[in-house]
């Protein structure tokens, strides 16, 4: 048996797949750190306290919503409704003049309920993209019913903690990073998390292995809804009010961030933690192009190119299969370097379909 590997690996408290999932994020982490350092040296406005604070405030909502999105994408699904859920959260925060605790409870409950709704649809067989397209409209409608136009008053006892800044580091940013780390641990190191990767890898196999497929999916979408609601609160820290349209761009931005972080659109692969460097990279791109005075239509072009280049880099870095949305069934252009083991691997994955 030539293929036997009896290498004794040091016994890490974290799972092997958990650790391996972090590897692909190394590249963008490096790029974003280098970019931060270079930008800080080159650009005086960049390292100004205002800008640092602005950058971190800006990252908080995207971090949260992208982490939730990453969980859903790991199930091979997608959540287009997160943007309107964020808007809904902002208007709820601004329209209900109650105590901070109550507002947070309401917002989280609505996020949970909305996400659960998505999950129920998906579990009953509705395509996730269509399901969340539907709830996207519903949440938007509800947001407009709650608050017909931007405004409202955010309870001061909520606004105060939301806008607290330590030095130049906003509390919302710290909380967002904390929440992402917690979510990462939950996805990577709990039974639910393992089931999540299994369901995303192959739902049919998961069902045969008698994993609680439905529960896993329900939790995944609920988490996404809740994180979108939290992201809405983080957005309130920026706009100090409610706005029934403010979350719209986040649907696509969160997907972009998750995929740049290396979450495979085909599901079952990736690491929620990787959304942190991905969001940093996206925020930096915006920020630097902005400071460089590049007009936004060029920013579109630059962003598109960066998106393509990042994914290309993943591909070149030798994890092609993780990014092959197109090539379901383990289709890999033969002639690659992997040899016999590689083709059997793809066979195993493909045998599922």
């Amino acid at each position: 048996m030539s293929a036997l590997r009896a290498t004794a690996r040091r016994s890490s408290p974290l799972g092997t797949t958990t650790l391996a999932g972090l590897k692909p994020a190394f590249f963008i982490t490096l790029v974003s750190i280098v970019a931060v350092v270079i930008a800080a040296i080159m650009s005086e406005p960049f390292r100004s306290p205002t800008n640092v604070e602005s950058l971190l405030f800006q990252m908080a909502p995207l971090l949260l919503v992208a982490a939730g999105q990453a969980v859903v994408i790991t199930t091979a699904g997608i959540d287009l409704s997160v943007g309107s859920m964020m808007s809904l959260a902002t208007v709820l925060a601004a329209a209900s003049s109650s105590s901070a605790a109550l507002v947070i409870a309401i917002v989280l409950a609505v996020g949970l309920a909305g996400g659960l709704g998505n999950g129920l649809g998906v579990v009953s067989g509705v395509n996730p993209l269509v399901m969340t397209l539907g709830t996207m409209a519903i949440f938007r409608g509800v947001a407009l019913l709650v608050l017909g136009q931007p405004g409202g008053i955010v309870p001061p006892d909520l606004l105060t903690p939301l806008t607290t800044v330590f030095g130049n580091v906003p509390l919302t940013f710290l909380l967002a990073v904390g929440a992402v780390v917690l979510l990462w641990l939950a996805t990577a190191e709990t039974r639910w998390g393992r089931a999540l990767f299994a369901v995303g890898g192959d739902e049919g196999h998961a069902r045969r292995a008698r994993l609680p497929v439905k529960r896993t999916l329900l939790i995944a979408y609920s988490v996404s809804g809740m994180f979108a609601a939290l992201a809405g609160l983080a957005l309130v820290a920026r706009i100090y009010s409610g706005d029934p349209n403010v979350g719209d761009p986040f649907a696509l931005d969160s997907i972009t961030a998750a995929l740049i972080g290396g979450i495979a659109v085909t599901g079952g692969r990736g690491s929620v933690l990787a959304v942190i460097p991905a969001v940093l990279l996206l925020a930096l791109t915006d920020n630097l192009l902005n400071l460089a005075g590049v007009f936004s239509y060029w920013q579109y072009i630059a962003k598109g190119v960066i998106l393509i280049l990042t994914l290309w880099a993943y591909h070149a870095a030798g994890r092609p299969s993780g990014l092959l949305a197109m090539a379901r069934g383990g289709w890999r252009k033969p002639g690659g370097s992997s040899g016999a083991a590689g083709s059997s691997g793809s066979a195993a994955k493909g045998a599922a379909s």
């Binding site: 030539s2 293929a3 036997l4 690996r9 299994a198 002639g335």
Partner: protein, 498 residues
């Protein structure tokens, strides 16, 4: 119609682990399982036999509770674990994570996964089976045989009352089959019952205490294994006497110029492979899993590109850069994993059969259903394909019939010159195998060359004119097909120097 009730299981009814009562299942026009009643006592092994599409997997799925019976019921006293015909591991998780999936040991009661304990548990499960696979390896890096073993280890680790093994040995080597056999014996001793589905007759007699035979969804025979002989078993499966599995060899044509020549070909883990395939010749490639025989097939079919040495077609050097170029040169390929690389599962039988020949069948590029019907009807007939309609999704066919469709695809290509087959009869029943073999022989007699890669040594011995045995990426030796023995091939394949 026979009824297995009370027949084979001698013990008192209270000892029955499994009781099936008039199980019945239809899929549209297909009556997959008809009124099957069956009991199985604790600690017994039942071999379930039957042609492809006889309904074995469907019956197992109903017993395991994965498919709802149309009518009737299955009662199991305890937990059922299933090793499915198609692997159902998670390619991106590690061996250990796969074995413990859904039952991960946890810290602090219901807290996070305890990965150290998980590794230990997984290692223990593999040890129980007697295999040494690193629990931290991602499953995608394993060979099909290793994956199969992991799947078995996962099922065994569940300590089931009933273990269902649906064709568990189709990708295993003899030594691994021995491991499995030992494991099932241990389980039996501990009171676990086993249902074993296989198309390999030798194994059936080795593993089983009892045998049940299905045909067209119905149970047509059941009894202690000792009541059956090879011949009687085949006859009750196929419903007729099968005179001969392997067709007669025809006269070789040693003087013909080779269609395909490998000259010291290397790349992708193989090196210095030299061989020729002449018109009408069936050339076999033997070897244990992972020794490069699949790569040889893929090189010949243009799936992979040659890195060193050269390939010649009709004695002129050729560069096969894609299957497409190979097909243009008359070389066809039947891949081993029919569900992922062979068939388009959501498409119809007709669409699957005609994909390669579409342009030839319809030179004007306009589809004509009449032309298509005329072309595919004889092929379906020739292969004895069991189907409800040509418009049926191919994914609904049983495994063996899927394999026939895959094979039939190339019978529609008129300029076929060389057929490259990689494990073409994996999971195919004897009857269908006999049909495929006779078609192969017929093609060879028409002057088509065949390059046959197989893990089934008997198949190679029964069909091939010469057999190249591979070991660690190179041809270790070549034996003439008509006089080869299993021992001879095994010796070469294990790298034992003569």
């Amino acid at each position: 119609m026979l009824d297995a009730n009370g027949g084979p299981s001698a013990g008192p009814p209270s000892a029955a682990v499994l009781v099936c009562d008039a199980l019945d299942k239809r899929y549209g026009a297909t009556h997959a399982v008809r009124d099957v009643s069956l009991t199985l006592a604790a600690g017994r092994t039942l071999a379930l036999m039957g042609e492809n599409g006889a309904g074995k997997s469907t019956l197992m799925a109903m017993i395991a509770g994965e498919v709802k019976p149309g009518s009737g019921s299955a009662t199991v006293d305890g937990f059922v674990a299933v090793v499915h015909q198609e692997l159902s591991l998670f390619a991106d998780l590690t061996v250990g994570e796969n074995i413990c999936i859904g039952r991960e040991p946890r810290l602090l009661g219901r807290g996070p996964v305890n990965n150290r304990a998980l590794r230990t548990q997984a290692r223990a499960a593999l040890d129980r089976l007697g295999v040494a696979i690193d629990v931290d390896t991602p499953v995608s890096k394993l060979s099909p045989a290793e994956q199969q073993l992991v799947e078995i280890a996962r099922a065994v680790a569940l300590d089931p009352a009933l273990l269902i093994l649906d064709e568990p040995t189709s990708s295993l080597e003899p030594s691994q089959v021995d491991l499995l056999h030992a494991a099932t014996e241990r389980l039996k001793a501990a009171g676990t019952s086993v249902i074993f589905v296989s198309h390999r007759l030798e194994e059936v007699f080795r593993f089983a205490d009892e045998i049940a035979v299905m045909r067209s969804g119905a149970l047509v025979g059941a009894g202690p294994a000792s009541d059956f002989t090879r011949e009687s078993l085949v006859a009750s499966m196929v419903g007729r006497e099968l005179e001969q599995l392997y067709p007669d060899r025809s006269a070789a044509r040693p003087d013909a110029a080779p269609i395909l020549t490998f000259d010291a070909v290397g790349g992708h883990g193989v090196h210095d492979v030299s061989l020729t395939v002449k018109p009408g010749q069936i050339v076999g490639i033997a070897g244990l899993e992972g020794h490069g025989q699949h790569v040889v097939a893929e090189l010949a079919a243009g799936v992979r590109r040659v890195r060193s040495g050269s390939i010649a077609i009709d004695e002129t050097r050729a560069k096969l850069r894609s299957p497409r170029e190979a097909i243009a040169a008359g070389i066809a390929f039947v891949p081993p994993d029919r569900r992922s690389s062979g068939l388009m599962l959501p498409l119809s039988i007709a669409e699957n059969l005609t994909v390669a020949a579409a342009h030839r069948l319809h030179p004007s590029r306009l589809l004509s259903r009449a032309v298509e019907q005329r072309a595919i009807a004889p092929v379906a007939e020739r292969l004895r394909l069991r189907y409800a309609s040509m418009e049926q999704r191919v994914g609904e066919l049983s495994g063996g019939n899927q394999q026939k469709v895959l094979f039939g695809r190339w019978l529609l290509v008129p300029n076929l010159r060389l057929l490259v087959l990689d494990d073409p009869t994996r999971g195919v029943d004897v009857g269908a195998r006999a049909e495929i073999y006779s078609v192969l022989r017929e093609l060879a007699d028409r002057g088509v060359g065949v390059l046959l890669v197989s893990t089934d040594m008997l198949e190679l011995i029964g069909l091939a004119d010469e057999i190249h045995v591979m070991y660690e990426g190179a041809v270790r030796g070549t034996v003439p097909g008509h006089s080869a023995t299993e021992e001879e091939i095994m010796t070469l394949a294990s790298g034992v120097t003569a």
